[in-house]
Amino acid sequence: MALDFSQELAALKADVDALSKAELDTPLASLAQWDSLTVLLTLSHFEHVHQLSLTGDQVRSCRTLRELLSHLPSSS
């Protein structure tokens, strides 16, 4: 079953601790734990939940959660 946007956001925050307190437009670079591990966990989330394979560069180049979620087909 496809998730709506708020469910997708909640699922991402639940899977990736470092993102749990971020708002949609919080600069990811301002998070203390926006590091290579968080990138890895984010890749894992997108692959596991959405069967979507992003590159490390695609995740690293996102400035906010909103930009991260824009990679989902349902968001385009």
């Binding site: 601790d17 734990q33 590091d35 290579s36 591990l37 990138v39 890895l40 966990l41 890749l43 894992s44 692959e47 596991h48 394979s53 992003l54 590159t55 490390g56 560069d57 995740v59 690293r60």
Partner: protein
């Protein structure tokens, strides 16, 4: 490529590690990294302890010790070994190869074949396949497969993205011809276009070492390395592994007519605990079927990690009976190699360390 071979068996395995115990949390604290960050990395990725080799110990030394222990434990005469295969990316010299050097150290017959395979984390499976081929199709009675690396000394100490990962180890696996009709199935794959994800740029013919190749480069994330260091794009390696390993495991299980429920163990290269657990879940295996502790005890041991899992987690069972196993090695190349079939019973010796003295 798919391959299926019978009439060979694994007759024993031994693994030797370096003697230096490296504690991830203690080293991280000494580098000024916060406790919370260290705990998070340890909990998620599995960083705890790794065993590295002293400066004068090489993969050749580690494998020699493993081979000596294995020969002694199995009571097999050196003169009965027809071939020696050495899987390594950290040989003693560019020439001669490690297999020839170990041939001399162990005193094998002059009629024995000796060659290296330049592979990393997929290498033990490649070596097992080559050893099996020699037994089943080339008349070899026994083949000594050695696989090991000292990758810890290739990383830059200020590259935190890769330096805490690797342990140093050498393994020896005795493969011999048998009358058994049990079939071992193999699936191999390569993605050469993705090879830049794991590399040591300098030190070969393309970019010989020079003062320039030792020039340190500061990366955007603050890590430092130079061209003679092992460099890795962790995100790309993670993606590659998730993309290729589950399908290779599925393919080899279809060849072997196995389902996850049929298997006693899924034996994965211990890239790190997170990777092993993620792949196991994606392949439909239960946690109890998949040994995942070796990374936290020894570090990522490159081509020695699958034999280390066998010796560390499956030795007691394998001493008594055969096990239905599926396994996969994956990494530098990019390269992957999966196997499925019954192994054992045989002696998988306790893992020991060696030092210079």
């Amino acid at each position: 490529m798919h391959s299926s071979l019978s009439h060979f068996r694994i007759a024993g395995i031994a693994v030797t590690t370096g003697s230096i115990t490296r504690d991830f949390i203690a080293e991280g604290k000494a580098q000024g990294i916060g406790q919370e960050t260290l705990d998070r990395l340890s909990r998620t990725i599995g960083f705890k302890i790794r065993k590295t080799a002293e400066p004068k110990i090489t993969a050749l030394d580690l494998c020699e010790k493993a081979a000596q222990r294995l020969l002694k434990a199995t009571g097999i005469e050196v003169s009965s070994i027809d071939a020696i295969i050495f899987v390594t990316q950290t040989p003693d010299h560019s020439q001669p190869n490690n297999a020839s050097l170990l041939h001399g150290r162990l005193g094998l017959n002059k009629g024995a074949m000796a060659f290296d395979l330049a592979l990393g984390c997929s290498g033990w499976v490649y070596g097992l396949h080559q050893a099996a081929l020699l037994c089943t199709h080339a008349g070899a009675g026994r083949v000594l497969l050695c696989a090991g690396d000292t990758l810890s000394r290739l990383t830059h100490p200020q590259d935190r993205s890769i330096d805490p990962i690797f342990g140093d180890a050498g393994s020896a696996t005795l493969v011999e011809r048998s009358g058994s009709h049990q079939v071992m199935h193999f699936v191999f794959g390569t993605d050469g276009k993705g090879g830049a994800a794991v590399k040591v740029p300098a030190g070969g013919a393309r970019q010989p070492i020079s003062p320039e190749t030792r020039r340190e480069i500061k990366l955007p994330d603050g890590n430092i390395h130079h061209a003679e260091n092992l460099q890795m794009d962790g995100a790309e390696v993670f993606n590659f592994s998730l993309r290729e390993v589950p399908s290779a495991i599925q393919a080899v299980m279809i060849s072997a007519n196995l389902t996850p429920a049929d298997c006693d163990a899924l034996i994965l290269h211990q890239a790190n605990k997170f990777m092993v657990e993620t792949l196991a879940a994606k392949c439909g295996f239960k946690v109890s079927q998949v040994p995942a502790d070796a990374f936290s005890k020894f570090g990522n041991q490159s081509s020695a990690s699958i034999p280390a899992v066998i010796c560390d987690a499956l030795a007691d069972k394998l001493r008594e009976k055969s096990l239905k196993t599926v396994g996969c090695g994956f990494g530098v190349g990019l390269s992957w190699a999966a196997f499925a079939g019954e192994i054992g019973p045989f002696e998988a010796l306790p893992i020991v360390s060696i030092s210079e003295k």
